[in-house]
């Protein structure tokens, strides 16, 4: 009697407590997943707002006369100012930067992955590359200013700018190239060795071609970051107001981010619109580079 009544009292209350607790739990769990989703979507909304702001401010200025905008030099009159020198300068800088840093970056990656003995020197070089990747871009600018522009007497020139950007991109390219070299399976190397190939022949004819899509993808992504950089070019003193295109490595050039910075800093609203229009051009350029990188990755990457 007592036992059954105590059970009769206890069981429903336990069930009830269990029921309310799991009800609350479901509520908290639901609230938490909503919070996670909201937290995640804030970043997406911020990106969308940024792109919308740039287009809202700059689209009209860009499409009013896109040809004139791209083929005019800068001007004190915002309505007549164009991005010719900056756009060309960025293109020259990009090509030259790639020429400087691609061979060295890939060479360093090949050495570290294929030839480097496991010793202190190698460890030191690896730690050093990891640290270089974390150096602020403005410090690379000071390096460029102190060594390329002043010590080597290049001045604020195309070659000084490209070397600075190349040095800055080097660690990124080395890391990307190493990853794609590491992804080539050892069976390929052993097969080549078994056929009598030397280490270099193996690397040159087997490993490198297989690793090339990933390396190129990494290089293009590194270049697209370099081309969006302002601070290092500002620090080495590349000009903004310039009315010629470079004929020589030692000629001064401007760059798109520099021009955007200059126009953004001016008080007139018309210059802000021009800055936004130039930003659209820069974003389009970066988008195109990224599209090429993704295409290379998807089209040519070998899945082992």
């Amino acid at each position: 009697m007592t036992a059954s009544s105590s059970v009769g009292v206890l069981v429903p209350s336990r069930l009830r407590r269990g029921a309310t607790r799991s009800g609350l739990k479901i509520l908290i769990d639901g609230a938490f997943s909503v919070l996670l989703f909201v937290g995640t979507i804030v970043g997406v909304i911020a990106l969308a707002t940024l792109i919308w702001t740039i287009f809202d401010d700059g689209w009209a200025r860009l499409v009013a006369d896109p040809v004139a905008f791209m083929t005019s030099y800068v001007s004190r009159l915002p309505a007549r100012a164009g991005i010719k020198a900056a756009l060309a300068g960025s293109a020259y800088l990009m090509v030259l930067t790639a020429l400087f840093c691609f061979p060295v970056g890939v060479g360093a990656a090949i050495y570290l992955e294929e030839f480097a003995p496991r010793n202190r020197v190698t460890n030191f070089v690896e730690a050093n590359i990891a640290n270089l990747a974390g150096v602020p871009s403005v410090v690379y600018g000071l390096l460029g200013l102190g060594i390329f522009a002043r010590f080597l007497r290049m001045g604020p020139s195309l070659v000084a700018g490209a070397l600075t950007l190349a040095v800055m991109s080097l660690p990124v390219i080395i890391v990307a190239a190493r990853e794609s070299i590491r992804a080539v399976p050892d069976g390929i190397r052993l097969g080549a060795f078994a056929l009598g190939a030397t280490r270099w022949q193996t690397v040159r004819r087997q490993v490198l071609p297989a690793a090339m899509p990933g390396t190129l993808t990494g290089t293009i992504l590194a270049l697209s970051r370099a081309i969006g950089e302002t601070a290092p070019l500002l620090v080495i003193g590349l000009p903004i107001v310039i009315f010629s295109l470079p004929n020589d490595l030692r000629d001064p050039v401007s760059a798109l981010p520099l021009l955007i910075f200059d126009w953004t800093s001016r008080p007139q609203a018309a210059f802000a619109a021009a800055a936004a229009a130039a930003s659209i051009v820069l974003l389009a350029l970066l988008l195109a580079m990224n599209a090429v990188a993704i295409f290379l990755r998807n089209r040519y990457t070998i899945r082992w």
Partner: protein, 304 residues
């Protein structure tokens, strides 16, 4: 071994040496950075004492060559810390929520959309983020909420939000890596004890990935400290000892950018001061990167 050694021809040795040179070039870059910063910083400290630099509360470079100016770095450190802390306040909660969502909750298809979106956010040139902060965050977000007379045109809050958006992808992606490297057995054990997804995420995955999250925050802080363009454009150029986020401040990086665009002539006190600032920046970011790398190495070892 003896067979391999016989196969190494002289040509091959030349190639290997060239590849080694590529790898060592990265060390030369580090040496170059340190040398450039030290040489001119030492020149600066010969004219302006190190103690005054490190303890002075006024940063007021003299006009022209900069003689007779006051060179106390504390206002710039103050501004840099404000941006660093402010951007962490913005980026840390959003980044960690995003990481939990991506690692534990998101379906593969949603993840496949969100990850590239975050990469795009990380790839927006900093000068464009600066434009966004100046033209949208301050006038359309901060001023309507806090009042026009309270929020200055250039303010630390806008700079912090802008930099916070830039470091969000860093925190999200490194934290997500750490969370995904938590073994599934831990999650399954928690589910087996009756935990819900929220409890598994918050009481098992996040604590287990805590060192990775900490490393991501330190790395993000280091990036925020080194960020130049967004803070130069949005946070202003008035070095101040303040903690008011709605007023104009100046960071170490912005001070470098401002001095250079004002074109300090080589060899002057003002020019040398640039390198003292660069050295300060380099030491701060290097220390944080080393701490972060050490923590990452530790958490990688725990579960392998």
């Amino acid at each position: 071994m003896s067979i391999a050694r016989r196969n190494v021809r002289t040509g091959e040795r030349v190639i290997v040496n060239a590849l080694f040179a590529c790898a060592v070039l990265s060390v030369a870059v580090t040496v170059g950075i340190v040398a450039v910063l030290l040489v001119d910083a030492v020149e600066f400290f010969r004219e302006s004492s190190l103690v005054d630099f490190l303890t002075g509360t006024v940063w007021a470079p003299g006009q022209g060559g900069g003689e007779g100016g006051q060179y106390g770095v504390l206002p710039l450190i103050n501004g840099t810390l404000m941006i660093g802390l402010g951007s962490i306040v913005v980026g840390l909660p959003l980044g960690v929520l995003t990481a939990i969502y991506l690692s534990e909750y998101a379906k593969p298809r949603v993840r496949g959309v969100l990850k590239p979106t975050l990469e795009i956010l990380a790839g927006i040139p900093t000068v464009i983020v600066g434009y966004f902060a100046l033209q949208f965050i301050t006038p359309s977000l901060l001023r309507p909420i806090f009042g026009d007379d309270r929020v200055f045109v250039f303010n630390a809050a806008a700079g912090s939000i802008a930099v916070g958006l830039m470091i969000l992808p860093i925190i999200a992606s490194i934290s997500e890596d750490a969370m995904r490297s938590v073994p599934a057995s831990l999650r399954e054990a928690a589910y087996g004890l009756g935990s819900t997804k929220r409890q598994v995420s918050l009481r098992v995955v996040v604590p287990a990935a805590l060192s990775g999250i900490a490393a991501s925050v330190i790395l993000a802080f280091s990036r925020a400290v080194g960020e130049t363009m967004a803070v130069t454009i949005a946070a202003g150029n008035s070095p101040k000892m303040t903690f008011d986020y709605f007023t104009s401040i100046q960071t170490l990086t912005a001070s470098i950018a401002q001095t250079v665009s004002g074109e300090a002539a080589a060899g002057t006190v003002r020019y040398n001061a640039l390198f003292a600032l660069g050295l300060t920046l380099f030491v701060i970011t290097l220390a944080m990167n080393l701490i972060s790398a050490r923590i990452v190495r530790r958490f990688r070892q725990v579960y392998s």
